[in-house]
Subunit: 405 residues, 2 copies
């Protein structure tokens, strides 16, 4: 007998039929002798409607009132799922963040979970009662409802699994696992049976949208075994676990891509100490996140500096740099939003040389020019022209031997 | 400077424009120097959708989960109205039942308010912050959300007004006050400037649907001055107050009608002690509420017994009596759903003889047969064939001199 947390996203509870389907899946886990807590999102579309109402009344709405409004979406789902469970003979009750409580900080709209008191839930689960818990929400020290930010239900589920000392946190979604790359681009992409937290984190942060990045960080820190699987198909998913649990490590586990960044280049920047601090300090002050950074070697005491920012921050970055131009002293700013970041991720890189070189050779063979390179311990990312995205992903998928049999 | 409670129903907050309209009305009261608490219902249609979802999953759904689901409707409105108020410069915050708290018993789906702690609300209202409170809901001793039953937001508003020691409880609705009778039947019906609690209670219980009966009872017990007025038109409403506050008492304040009852007659019941207890005991056991009762004088030791029950209870009453027939010993049961109850209400009746006689004469003049009569201190009700409803109401409105100039 195990204790498990099951999490269902908005598309999995989009209507009464799907809620009944979720109830049947929960019943199966109960019938197998498991103690079960379920974390649910709002029915698909509900949160968008609630957000639209808030924005319709005020562009700069009070985040505390926004949280009060949008948290109702999950509350509705908990009550409905509990009714559906009882209807098929499964004892259950709904729990809102303030009832458990799930304590968060007071950063309304993007709160972080501070503590979950699992005592009462565990007591009831041991008597066979399923706990149906609202994802995405908690309660601040001001006794007001908080929300964790979009996609926060994954984080709720992982945090609850940690608090309940659950054996596993099953994230049910509309894909059936983590793939070596996006199957819409590479039909031969394979589903991974296992992936390490570190790899999942790198994939999540470079564009694989299956799990919210924060939920993976939390799972890694709390050592929660997470399984990603389909609400609709009855097939095994992908287990996200500690690297040590994975016996056969592959050099490269997956290829990810993101079209959300833009490239900026500062031409002819004076090559003197403190210049990087001046550039990126100004950007940080205006809340522009910078990702990849490269700086060419100097010629005539001048250098070129290239970096990427989120496309949504591009306009703000341009204004910020224009204002700081006299202080920094560059000749011009070039911006290019037509770029894609392609990333190769795998824990095997640590022990295998040549992983990056395989990447560069594969891209060169397709005549794809690499504009920027950045690396981490288990990831190599390159920036290429956006038009090459699919070609690059397919070439790399083949080059690393990931294509299915 | 006064402290007031304003209550807005579902049609008054049906969309963002109407919520903005409500915010403007609240602002006007604040600008006039008042301390304001606002009680809101769910946006029109929302509660019906939530109820339909619960019923769609289970006919016999858990009332605690039902409450969890339907209470979200009011929660959304509080957040949105608070945002709308802040947008026009009015300081405000939303309050759910569990945050104040509004304590109720644990009768989920039809809970009664036990206690409201108004301390924190008063403290903030004194600093100029408007309290936007969810109607219809509270929290039970089991720390779960309760609801008060349909229309319960009126009761929430009156209870809050009592807890806050408010000068007035303004109920904004889609009619602009209490009329001498239904203006759809009698175009000359006049809006009353004042009506006493007792009269309002009699009117509410005999078919005038403007205020929930429980809210009027509570207002009477707690001596809360209630004003009924329109959300849409800017005209004076009707003040529901203590009889002593009304200087010019009219003999008759209003004519009400109800088509919700059915008449039942037991023919040839043995006229012996305990027979009424046997009949009405059996009905009470099956949750059938009986309203008007008459018993004819006895002949041959046998009598006829006539009474009214709610139409929705008629089938259950028929089955109950058929089962108890051998024990009671009547010859047959007659049922007639085609009846209407016409009621004349006024505190002046206490001191004026002849009020009932005016009624009987006016109906006789129109050749309307009276089937059953019942009276209370300030009300005379008669049962007539349903087809005479409008004719009877018009005749009585004229007979009591209520037609407008």
């Amino acid at each position: 007998m195990s204790r498990i947390v099951m999490k269902f996203g908005g598309t999995s509870v989009a209507d009464l039929d799907r809620i009944r389907n979720v109830a049947a899946r929960v019943k199966r886990e109960c019938d197998a002798g498991n103690e079960v807590a379920v974390v649910v999102s709002a029915m698909a579309g509900v949160t968008n409607q609630l957000v639209a109402w808030c924005q319709g009344l005020s562009a700069l709405h009070d985040a505390r009132e926004y949280d009060t409004v949008v948290a109702t979406g999950e509350q509705v789902t908990t009550g409905l799922l509990s009714i559906a469970l009882q209807e098929i003979g499964v004892e259950s009750r709904s729990w809102q963040g303030w009832q458990i409580p799930i304590r968060t900080d007071n950063a309304h709209g993007k709160a972080r979970i501070v503590d979950i008191d699992g005592t009462e839930l565990i007591r009831r689960m041991q008597f066979g009662q399923v706990a149906v818990v609202s994802g995405f929400q908690g309660i601040g020290s001001d006794n007001r409802i908080t929300t964790l930010g979009r996609g926060g239900s994954d984080t709720s589920a992982v945090a609850l699994a940690a608090a309940l000392k659950a054996e596993r946190c099953d994230i049910y979604t509309d894909v059936d696992g983590i793939y070596t790359t996006d199957p819409r681009i590479v039909p031969q992409a394979r589903k991974l049976a296992h992936i390490s937290y570190e790899e999942m984190l790198e994939l999540a942060s470079v564009g694989a949208k299956v799990l919210q990045t924060r939920s993976v960080e939390l799972a890694m820190n709390e050592r929660v075994r997470v399984q990603v699987l389909s609400s609709f198909a009855d097939v095994p998913g992908t287990l996200v676990v500690d690297e040590d649990e994975i016996v056969e490590k592959e050099n490269v586990s997956g290829i990810a891509y993101s079209r959300e960044d833009a490239k900026m280049t500062l031409r002819r920047v004076p090559d003197r100490p403190g210049i990087a601090a001046a550039v990126f300090g100004a950007l940080a002050q205006h809340n522009v996140n910078v990702d990849m950074i490269v700086q060419n070697v100097s010629a005539d005491g001048m250098t070129d500096m290239t970096f990427t920012v989120s496309k949504t921050d591009l306009a703000r970055a341009q204004v910020t740099l224009a204002e700081a131009r006299s202080q920094i002293g560059f000749s011009e700013v070039l911006s290019d939003p037509n770029v894609a970041k392609i990333s190769v991720v795998g824990v095997g890189m640590r022990s295998h040389a040549g992983v990056a070189n395989t990447m560069f050779r594969a891209l060169a063979d397709k005549a794809i020019n690499i504009q920027v390179i950045s690396t981490s311990e288990i990831k190599v990312s390159v920036l290429v022209a956006a038009e090459y995205t699919e070609l690059a992903v397919r070439a790399l998928h083949t080059a690393y031997g990931l294509d299915g049999a």
